[in-house]
């Protein structure tokens, strides 16, 4: 295997000049042409991770990382325009400036990265608009964001990202604000574009349906840490962390149809720890059915199941096996 494109080791972020710890050591790799889904509930640190990579955190945030490199070059201190990455934001309604035309915003995104003449920029803008399947790009250039539909605006956002020819595309819940059919079109488009350009995608979502659709790999985040990481198939088939298992169980699935059999939808008891709280042991321990006394005091050990799949929980597997034998 070649070196990963994006390498992140022990990424820590603290807000309020270091007082509130929100990322407590995040590790992951992402290779060219692959899609990694960051999954987790609100406040687990998904978006902060993306913002740290893009250098979009507020000035009072402290970023610390043992390694944070893109294509071997450290990201810390790199100018934003020089970073070989681009981001697609959550809400296409508010992520485009309402008083500037689509064409202007696309051209700006390009010309801040590369010094190209206006003619070349114009051609590139039309190219990228065709690439994201915006019909009739020449007339859409002069359109203002409010003249486009939500799906079309998200295509423009994707075009704004792609025009910079990034090696890494960060998508922060790009489909959450869209309705389901448009959502499917956008996911399909992202996959197509990945095939065409070979870009890596870091996809942030809390929708497991979307994960199943688009991910190659999944990283599950909980309270500022990655608790489980692995190929999408293995994670879905064989979760190795009680939190992941809980997430899967809590998802409404029409095939197992909890509802039709009159069963209650499974829920995870308890609440997420407050960001910044000191957590000596496993953050999930208070909500975990498999927790032992040591979980609350000592940080959980990372257990690898296969080469790519592992989880920060040494107990879950052992207990599941024990239960299996007992049954």
């Amino acid at each position: 295997m070649t070196d990963p494109l994006l390498e992140v080791r022990d990424l820590r972020v603290a807000m309020n000049s270091g007082r509130t710890q929100v990322l407590r050591g995040v590790d992951f790799d992402l290779a060219e042409g692959r899609t990694l889904c960051l999954v987790g509930e609100s406040g687990s640190g998904k978006s902060v991770t993306a913002a740290a990579l893009m250098d979009l955190l507020p000035p009072h945030a402290r970023i610390d990382a043992a390694t944070m490199t893109l294509g071997g070059r450290p990201l810390a201190g790199m100018r934003r325009a020089a970073r070989d990455m681009a981001m697609i934001f959550q809400d296409p309604m508010t992520s485009l400036n309402p008083v500037l035309t689509i064409g202007y915003q696309l051209r700006e995104a390009l010309q801040l990265k590369e010094r190209v003449s206006n003619d070349v920029a114009h051609a590139r803008v039309l190219d990228v608009m065709r690439q994201v399947r915006i019909p009739d790009p020449a007339t859409r250039l002069a359109a203002y964001p409010h003249q486009l539909s939500g799906g079309m605006r998200q295509r423009v956002m994707i075009a704004m990202a792609l025009i910079r020819r990034p090696r890494l595309l960060i998508a922060d819940e790009p489909t959450t604000a869209l309705d389901v059919t448009v959502q499917a079109q956008i996911l399909w488009l992202l996959q197509e574009l990945q095939r065409e350009t070979g870009t890596a995608i870091l996809f942030i979502t809390h929708d497991l349906g979307v994960v199943a659709e688009i991910a190659h790999d999944v990283a599950v985040m909980y309270a500022g840490r990655i608790v489980e990481r692995g190929p999408v198939g293995e994670i879905f088939r064989d979760p190795a962390h009680p939190y992941t298992a809980g997430l899967m169980a809590a998802t409404l699935d029409h095939r197992t149809a909890n509802d039709a059999r009159g069963e209650r939808l499974v829920e995870l008891p308890g609440t997420v720890p407050v960001a910044g709280e000191a957590i000596p042991g496993c953050a999930f321990a208070p909500r975990c059915a498999y927790a032992v006394a040591a979980c609350a005091t000592t940080p959980p050990e990372w257990r690898s199941l296969t080469r790519a799949h592992g989880a920060a929980c040494p107990h879950f597997r052992a207990q599941q096996m024990a239960e299996g034998i007992a049954r």
Binding site: M54, L56, R79, R80, A81, A82, A86, M87, F89, Q90, D91, T94, S95, L96, N97, P98, V99, L100, E108, A109, L112, K113, Y144, P145, H146, M157, M160, R164
Partner: protein, 272 residues
């Protein structure tokens, strides 16, 4: 969301346009025939002198129309100056947390002094030219505009499109001037109309108090001020410029209201 043109907008727009036209053309059409001619002093309005004459025999019709010119210069000048400086302060205070405290406390300090008092003091210090009056009236208006712009900027800078602009590497001046300022324009345009209207009134007050422009530069305010002593015998000296002043200020305010009702593009998805 109103489409088309409402009555206030049409009325306001028409009056403003007509007044601007008078202001521009009056000196050309009328020449400057408001000379002092003692033999025709205090004539009542009639066929010869439509608006009558004052104690020095100056034609009030001519002075009212020429006054329009100077009053409009004051209104537009003050609105422009206030907006320019107030917007600059407001943008800086709203976008840079570090400057916020310092700039806004300075503005609060300026705001603590009553506007007319400050204007009188400045007019007294600077002398009584047209442009010094503009400066004197603009100074107390700046804090209000700065506060407005700051509050608008505070909202806009949290919008995702600003983060998007930052993420592609836009420079800070570009973000302020190209991404944030245009989105604040609707609020600014409305503010401009109100500043303009109140500046014309303030100028009249200053003239009335004797610290406005000198009588050889007629404005609605100082024509009225000149007629003050003779109000009982020659009410028309105050009446006609007063009517013009009221209607023009009303028109500007109506126009500003209509602009505000058209809403801003952030809420309605319409272009300003």
């Amino acid at each position: 969301m109103k489409r088309g043109y409402s009555f206030p907008m049409v009325f306001g727009g028409t009056v403003i346009a007509a007044t601007l036209l008078c202001a521009l053309l009056a000196p050309m059409i009328l020449g400057y025939s408001d000379d002092i001619v003692m033999t025709r002093s205090m004539r009542a309005p009639g066929a010869e002198y439509w608006f009558g004459t004052d104690n020095l025999g100056r034609d009030i019709f001519v002075r009212t129309l020429s006054g329009a010119r100077n009053s409009v210069i004051v209104g537009i000048g003050v609105a422009g100056l206030t907006l320019l400086i107030g917007t600059a302060f407001g943008l800086l205070a709203g976008y840079f947390n570090r400057l916020d405290g310092a700039i806004m406390r300075m503005m609060d300090g300026l705001m603590a002094i009553p506007g007319v008092l400050l204007a009188i003091a400045l007019a007294a210090i600077l002398g009584s030219g047209l442009y010094t009056v503009v400066i004197a009236i603009a100074a107390p208006e700046i804090p209000r505009t700065a506060r407005l712009v700051r509050s608008v900027v505070l909202t806009i800078r949290e919008m995702p499109f600003v983060a998007a602009a930052i993420s592609v590497g836009s420079s800070t001046p570009k973000i302020l001037l190209r991404h944030i300022l245009p989105n604040a324009m609707p609020a600014l345009m409305v503010q401009a109309t109100f500043v303009c209207a109140s500046a014309i009134l303030t100028e009249a007050v200053l003239s009335f108090l004797g610290v406005g422009t000198s009588p050889d530069i007629p404005s609605w305010g100082n024509v009225m001020a000149g007629g003050r002593q003779f109000f009982r015998v020659a009410p028309w000296v105050i009446l006609f410029p007063g009517i013009f002043l009221s209607i023009f200020v009303l028109a500007i305010n109506l126009f500003g209201d209509a602009l505000r009702e058209r809403g801003d593009p952030m809420l309605s998805g319409r272009r300003a």
